[in-house]
Symmetry: C2
Subunit: 395 residues, 2 copies
């Protein structure tokens, strides 16, 4: 079999501004950490890197959970990890669905032979705790699962009340924080979250490839008292934790350089401080929304239910989704996301995540979008930059 190696050139992605639903822009420090020499996954130095990564993750998740580690896969592997370790065939599992990622949870629950109790909410709206309570009446679910920050719609679902509902019914509370973690508060212990997963490529501003997860003592107990083996060998936490825990028993080879990158991203978070980081995300979000609304655009999600790191903007009548996104990418190097599922063609998803949540990106995006819309013939109202500036000035 012949192949001409000269057909393939050095990797050269060019310059992008990542303002989609993730990955977000990665800082040079994280990229540099990832390019440190690879060493053995049982090397004493790497073991210390693992320990520190766990300490930093516990800080970020605001938890004392011992089993707090990055799973060796992307955010969806983290989702699967939480369900596959805690769900057994026949278990009742409540899944709140208000977007793509709740739908994905339901799919996974079905594959595990569990009984799905699905609570649907409108896409673009938060989950109603009363509906969850109603759906659970007369049932004995093992788990109540919800997405904190729905990446497909830009909606934030508050967790404290749902946690109480889950625990009152004797269920474990399982939460997707892929998009929220490191961009807004995720207080695992305070909020009584029993199993949580996230991703690295959103507000952590690390490339995709790892999924931070954390399991509470109650979740560990459920894992330890399973009747059947975990259906996935790769994601079986009863074995993975032996490697990350004290006895360092070999399970699979950890993605060494990705862990370097995550650790550096976490260091950056710790240096900024959680409160300052969350405030930054909130401020840039408010400025962006003020600018967009000044242009005459409207947001999909009601004000009180919006995420600070992912903004869903309704595409105005007569404007062509694909053309606008292609022009933003081609003329400005800006990536934003389109809508998923029923929202395809109806919204844009504009991310302000981690390193990419900056006044620079807010101003750049408002200016770029205005230019592109105007050249497409759409009548844009003036004043976006002023409106954004006003938000910044008010701080």
């Amino acid at each position: 079999m012949h192949l001409d190696p000269n057909r393939f050139r050095e990797v050269d992605p060019g310059t992008r501004v990542l303002m989609g639903p993730g990955p977000s822009d990665v800082s040079a420090r994280v990229l540099q950490a990832m390019s440190a020499p690879c060493i053995g996954h049982l090397d004493p130095y790497f073991l210390s890197v693992m320990d520190e990564t766990q300490q930093l993750l516990r800080f970020l998740f605001q938890t004392d959970n011992e089993l707090t580690i990055p799973v060796s896969g992307t955010g969806s592997a983290g989702m699967e990890t939480c369900f596959v370790n805690l769900v057994e065939p026949g278990d009742e599992v409540v899944v709140c669905v208000n977007g793509v990622f709740g739908t994905r949870m339901s799919d996974i629950v079905g594959r595990l032979g569990a009984e799905l109790i699905r609570v649907d909410a409108e896409w673009g709206r938060t989950v109603d705790p009363a509906a969850v309570r109603d759906a659970m009446r007369g049932k004995g679910p093992k788990i109540v699962a919800v997405v904190h920050a729905e990446t497909s719609t830009g909606v934030c679902t508050p967790l404290e009340e749902l946690s109480k509902i889950a625990h009152d019914a004797g269920a474990l509370f399982l939460v997707d924080t892929v998009t929220s973690l490191a961009g807004m508060e995720v207080a695992v212990d305070k909020w009584g979250i029993d199993a949580v997963y996230s991703g690295t490529q959103k507000c952590l501003s690390c490339p995709p490839g790892l999924s931070p997860v954390s399991f509470s003592p109650a979740a560990i107990e459920a894992l330890d008292s399973r009747k059947n083996p975990v259906s996935s060998w790769y994601l079986d936490m009863s074995m993975v934790r032996s490697y990350w825990g004290g006895d360092r028993k070999y399970h699979h080879t950890a993605p060494v350089n990705m862990v370097y990158g995550l650790r550096e991203a976490l260091r950056i978070v710790a240096e900024e401080g959680l409160e300052a980081r969350f405030a930054r995300h909130r401020l840039n979000h408010l400025a962006l929304v003020a600018g967009l609304e000044a242009m005459g655009l409207s947001m999909l999600v009601p004000e009180t239910e919006r995420l600070p790191m992912l903004n869903t903007v309704c595409i105005p009548e007569g404007v062509q989704d694909g053309k606008v996104r292609a022009a933003l990418l081609k003329q400005f190097g800006i990536e934003i996301g389109g809508g998923l599922g029923d929202l395809a063609g109806k919204v844009w998803r504009v991310g302000l995540m981690g390193h990419a949540s900056s006044v620079r990106n807010v101003c750049l995006f408002l200016s770029a979008l205005e230019t592109v819309l105007r050249s497409g013939g759409f009548k844009v109202r003036r004043g976006a930059q002023d409106a954004a500036a006003k938000v910044y000035d008010s701080q």
Copy 2:
């Protein structure tokens, strides 16, 4: 929750020579590629990187299989991918076991509710095709699975006869090439392999984190005619291939920078050429063995069954495994592996994989081991370097 960010320093793994069972030393080119800016997983440039990575993987696997991609996890995720997509509850599955990784295959098959037909061979010896044929008598297995290069023992099992046995029985042939790929021939189409997986951190000399896999048309047919959904959402190839194939349907966020690294590692393989690369691995292996035997050490595996990239050396009577490996790491920065399972404490596993398979590493290792053994009081025969040099001179 408070945490002092100054407790965590910049990543600095120091200098290592990775001569264990993997990861192997990664070249600067691959590390640099991994540190290129992260871009969107649906960005037109990244789609071209994916296409090229697939072309390069097909070249390396010597296959025309369309479904040839890197799975977003380490080698064990690739193992799970092959089984989870092809096995349904109740299926009969033959697994040949002559080491840790065959044992792991059996574990996975059990979790999937399949009927395991286990063919055991001595650890340190190849699998006997006659034993496989015998075990299959009167059965109708869907799959025959074997490890090409057993990383736990250093044994190579030839594949052509086993492939014939599998196909004669109407079974699919599933092969683990985690350690063999890119260090010796893996001819997927010529050898009739239906499902194959590998890792990036062995002879590809890329950091761990991805698992190249390839599925034959017959394997795809088996996947398409499943009665039950694949138990893993994350590894479900019926969905993953929509992203890597023509329609680019979003499944999960690809580990963008890891794919950059893999592509660069594959470019390096293509530049060297497969035959030259395999010859290099073989030559360095022969030189190492000549040197070790000249020192008075012996190999676990009979000469004709040895792998070129992983050498299992019997630990001489009276020599302390842990002390020697610690001294090699501390004094020379050299990592080698210990034995696994029944071979713990009995063998060392010395890797000469990919970038690390070099005359420099052979000479360094022989010299370092001699020094360490001698200082531990073990009587080492002289002449290791000469014996190795003689092998090189004979070429």
